[in-house]
């Protein structure tokens, strides 16, 4: 059942407008040179940070379709009746969401890095850090989606909840993207691990509490 659930999440992620967060990501990356000017040196210095901000905002877009449609349509109830724990559902949703969001984000980060003139030797490291950080972002997105499912104006509320919670990912992610010597990469991995490990329990509890 869990495998089928992950496969279903991936199928739904790609059958819906999966390119929307990616397009949004690239749009943010494109806007920055208009705002700060086309100076290649400056853009190259701030490219890592910009791509992280873009990834954070792109992570907000799919939140409303992660949990709420399944809650409203009774899918979560039917899973519970079949003895699937709400925590397992949340974990499957995190895995499925990352599979339909992470790889596309990494691919578009390559394009974004070119647009922003990121020094080429920094690109592999940026992608590695984004891969780790996007796992944490996916876990956070599912948790926030579960916490706000069924609430009025859930979209705006989700943004207000997710962005502050993502600050550790942003700090260590942006630092690790540029700086080879610091331990930021390890800290980023630690934060992502904590989110991936803890989120299923928070999201599962939120799913249970949302049953009426």
């Amino acid at each position: 059942m869990i495998g089928a659930l992950v496969a279903r999440e991936v199928r739904r992620g790609f059958s819906g407008p999966a390119w929307l967060p990616v397009a949004f990501f690239l749009l943010v990356a494109t806007l920055v040179p208009f705002a700060v000017g086309p100076d290649g040196g400056l853009l190259g210095r701030i490219a890592g940070g910009i791509l992280w901000i873009a990834a954070l905002t792109a992570a907000l877009l799919p939140i409303e379709r992660l949990i709420e449609p399944d809650r409203a349509d009774g899918v979560l109830d039917q899973l519970a009746i079949r003895g699937v724990a709400d925590e397992s559902v949340a974990a499957a949703k995190i895995a499925g969401h990352w599979l339909s969001f992470g790889p596309l984000l990494l691919a578009s980060a390559v394009v974004g890095a070119l647009l922003l003139r990121l020094p080429p030797e920094q690109l592999p490291r940026l992608l590695a850090v984004l891969a780790i950080g996007s796992l944490g972002l996916a876990a956070l997105a599912v948790t926030v989606a579960a916490l706000t499912a069924g609430l009025p104006r859930a979209g705006a509320l989700a943004g207000l909840l997710l962005l502050p919670l993502a600050i550790p990912l942003l700090i260590f992610g942006a630092a690790a993207s540029g700086d080879r010597a610091s331990g930021a990469l390890l800290l980023e991995a630690a934060v992502a691990l904590l989110l991936v490990a803890g989120s299923p329990f928070v999201a599962g509890g939120a799913i249970r509490a949302s049953r009426t």
């Binding site: 089928a4 279903r8 349509d73 009774g74 109830d77 039917q78 009746i81």
Partner: protein, 180 residues
């Protein structure tokens, strides 16, 4: 005889209002119980408590393996009906006259056809206890007949049914009245 569903002194409060007050009953194999009562008397809540989806304030609920058909279809709208049902282990399409709709996307089905799809999933579940919330809503007379046949066959095979409905259902049912 072991009951497939047993409520023992169940109290349930929703939104500050007491819905069930010391409710006790049991349904054994081959039995069918219809919950009746006016709108808002807690019929659907009773079904959700029996399914383990709502917590009681006190009392105990024992239930065997169960299948639920309520107003929430829980089928992916963009998929053909047979594929959408396959996610849940399939549905008994012929038993509810849905065989020719197997390739039709769920989003194109009418209200009655959706209800029948939910019932087809229950029919294929092999669960001993069926929980049906307003099973006859939106069904035409032919489908109501199919539903009655299904329920009879399920009871003959030792299954039990708990249904909430404001209109009488065909067959031999015990009734439980809520909201007196």
């Amino acid at each position: 005889m072991t009951a497939l569903l047993r409520f023992e002194h169940v109290f349930c409060r929703r939104g500050g209002r007491l819905l069930f007050d010391d409710l006790s009953f049991a349904i054994g194999p081959g039995e069918a119980l219809q919950v009746v009562g006016p709108n808002g008397s807690g019929k659907s809540s009773l079904i959700r408590v029996a399914a383990g989806l709502l917590r009681t304030d006190s009392g105990r609920v024992h239930a065997a393996g169960l299948a639920l058909a309520d107003d929430n279809l829980a089928l992916d709208r963009e998929l053909p009906l047979a594929k959408a049902l396959a996610f849940w282990g399939g549905g008994d399409l012929p038993a509810l006259g849905l065989a020719e709709l197997a390739d039709v996307p769920v989003r194109l089905l009418s209200a009655g056809q959706r209800k029948r799809a939910a019932l087809a999933r229950v029919a294929a579940s092999r669960a001993p206890l069926w929980l049906l919330d307003e099973p006859a809503n939106a069904l035409d007379t032919g489908s109501v007949g199919l539903l009655a046949t299904l329920i009879e066959a399920h009871r003959a095979a030792g299954g039990a049914v708990l249904a909430a409905s404001h209109s009488p259902l065909a067959g031999d049912w015990r009734t439980l009245e809520l909201g007196r």
